[in-house]
């Protein structure tokens, strides 16, 4: 530290400048590669698309305009359509709710089994972890389509499919929450001879339940979107109504508009509701 002469400062400065230049070069190169990748990818996607990007761009508002103008012409029918689509909407929400409940229950169990310090069988932790990875990686649509083939259309295949994915997705988040739980209450319970379910129920759940609930709520919101999409491929609910109204084409656009409105409002309401509740839980009622 002693040698603070001007010469050594110059050396340090030169060294620093060289490092900065190198960093900038690498950063610039990475940016260049990224931009090239984006451009090339866009080009490929554009070529493989049925209609190109530029020719399609002016028509982007054609369909919404058609729907809106027809819905406006027949605006007297709109309340009726909204009312008629309501049972389907309730079915979609029910699918999401059942899937979230079942998925959360499964995730609670799997997350306990795969967290260090909670798991009753240490050796099986990696097995349960891989199981969750696999469930998470499975897109809902795959399970839904297979189950529709076996069980026929309706809400049950969609609920099972979404629940399956939810177990994996929530299981991972839950086990992250579990890892931060204090193990002392569990040890205390163990010392008085509590069984594993008792230790979990009385020692762990009170600590982590708010966080679990918050994640489950976020998942519920995601699952509503998923259940609408699965309806579109034949699993019932509002997605199915939407598909019917749209594939009919002109003449039923007022129905389509009603379904669009309902779906949009539902997603908005649950989005705002869940973020409000989660905010309240994190920051308390005061804020």
């Amino acid at each position: 530290m002693a040698d603070l002469t001007a010469a050594s400062l110059d050396v340090t400065r030169a060294h620093y400048m060289a490092l900065t230049r190198q960093r900038r070069l690498y950063g610039g190169l990475m940016l260049l590669v990224f931009v090239l990748l984006m451009a090339a990818g866009f080009g490929i996607a554009n070529d493989r698309n049925a209609g190109g990007f530029l020719p399609g761009l002016p028509h982007i508002f054609d369909f919404p305009a058609d729907v809106i103008s027809e819905a406006w012409e027949k605006r007297a029918n709109l309340p009726g359509h909204l009312l008629r689509a309501l049972p389907a909407l309730i079915e979609t929400i029910n699918i999401a709710a059942v899937a979230t409940l079942l998925g959360a229950l499964g995730a609670v169990l799997l997350s306990m089994l795969s967290t260090q310090g909670l798991a009753p069988w240490l050796r099986l932790i990696p097995v349960f972890r891989r199981m969750m990875d696999l469930m998470r990686a499975m897109p809902e649509i795959v399970i839904a389509l297979v189950l529709i083939f076996i069980l026929g259309g309706g809400p049950v295949p969609a609920a099972i499919a979404i629940a399956f994915h939810t177990v994996g997705a929530l299981g991972k988040l839950f086990s992250e929450v579990n890892e931060n739980a204090d193990l002392k209450p569990l040890e205390g319970l163990a010392s008085v001879g509590a069984t594993w379910p008792q230790r979990m129920m009385l020692g762990l759940v009170p600590q982590v339940a708010p966080n679990w609930f918050s994640y489950a709520l976020l998942r519920f919101e995601i699952n509503i979107r998923a259940s609408a999409i699965l309806g579109f491929v034949g699993a019932g609910g509002i997605g199915y109504e939407l598909k019917n109204a749209i594939s009919w084409g002109k003449g039923k656009f007022d129905e389509a508009a009603a379904v669009f409105i309902l779906l949009f409002l539902t997603i908005m309401v649950f989005d705002q509701l869940s973020s409000y509740v989660r905010n309240r839980m994190t920051y308390g009622a005061a804020k």
């Binding site: 990224f34 990748l37 984006m38 990818g41 866009f42 490929i44 996607a45 554009n46 493989r48 698309n49 049925a50 209609g51 190109g52 990007f53 399609g56 761009l57 028509h59 982007i60 054609d62 369909f63 919404p64 079915e91 029910n94 709710a97 059942v98 409940l101 990875d133 696999l134 998470r136 990686a137 499975m138 897109p139 809902e140 649509i141 795959v142 389509l145 297979v146 083939f149 076996i150 069980l151 026929g152 309706g154 809400p155 049950v156 609920a159 979107r225 609408a228 999409i229 579109f232 491929v233 997605g239 939407l242 749209i246 669009f260 779906l263 949009f264 997603i267 908005m268 989005d271 705002q272």
Partner: protein, 441 residues
Amino acid sequence: MSLATAATPVEMQSKATTLIARKRLVTLAVPLAIFAYFTYIFFAFDIIGLRERARLDNAVALVSDTYSYKTHVERNNRNGEIEISVEGERKGTYDATNYPSWVTVGEEVTQIALDDGGSIEIAGDIVRFDVPGFGLIEAMQSRSDGVSLNLDTADLPDWISYSKNRLTVATDAARLTLTKARTEVFVYEFGWELFWFTLDSPYYDHSFSEIAFGDPIDPTRSNLTGAWQDFWNNSIWRHSDVAWALFETVLMAFLGTFGAAIIALPLAFLAARNFAPLVAIRMAARRLFDFLRGVDGLIWTILLSRAFGPGPMTGALAILFTDTGSFGKLFSEALENVDGKQIEGVASTGAKPLQRYRFGVIPQIVPVLLSQVLYFLESNTRSATIIGAITGGGIGLLLTQAMITHKDWEEVSYYIILVVLLVMAMDSFSGWLRRKLIKGE
């Protein structure tokens, strides 16, 4: 409310009692509410009716198809021609030079040897099915009398179904159907047949070591290139198309996610409390994000496919629109949490506003943004499969196409395995990138 505020021990005790009573009520009420809800769902989803609608034979066909394939041996009873093919597909039809070893086709008699020791013999209009542990079933068809059987037709086991027009014998090893028009035998075997090479390829039925180290099988090509060409252009499993579809799915996720991030970043500045110039602009930006998110990927997909037609770009744009909303919200929250001191520090050196953002703000939020974007990249790979199924692009399209035919379940399971592997690969890739870029490991 809390126990500490109680004045006397008696009061404290009564408060504790009510608190415990309430907690006890909650622990009872929550499971009860869930149970009540499931009871409602039981009737709303018509679980009882489900048992009647469920097609368990479909499930059996699906499961057995995923690990086994069937070879059809078919005799046209009108003209006596024999045809042997994999899954009854035209592209998988054997010709006289390469019949499977378990079939011997003679002038008069076709012999089929089954794995379980049984055998089937098709001799003109007569079929003899030797079932081990049961005995010989002999059946005959004629144009005038229909199908006749050597067994007591009043007392048949449940795996034989017989009527004047049709006889069906289904065992684990094979299934025989005899009608006036044709004699059909399905022989089940383990595995995915023709996965590597189709029957017209010279490399069919050669082992890996023969191809890799043996003499040239096709004199015009070297073994490895020839085998690769025939594998890649396999007309039944279509490996090149599948690879393209997987690439398209990743492409949709990549373009959608990063495109959304690029668009959302400047907009997020407008929506952040500490950067927005005007409250009105901030509110407008926030409502825009809410709108983009609220419309949801499904509706965006429908709208955009009307304008751009089906394909990967439509899918990418649908992801882009939805995620611009999500990213805008997340980024603006991250921007509201930045430390003002660093910006002040940069400003004190005389930096202009753009420089202040570049050196005071961006370095603070990049780790947060990057980790969000990479999380989305993984989850969007899954969404791209679903969007592909709706808009017609990528592996999602292949998957739905294979499912609609209701027979190529081995292809469906192949695609499912590929999708799962793809999502897992993207998961570990984005995790690796996250560690590399953020922690600098």
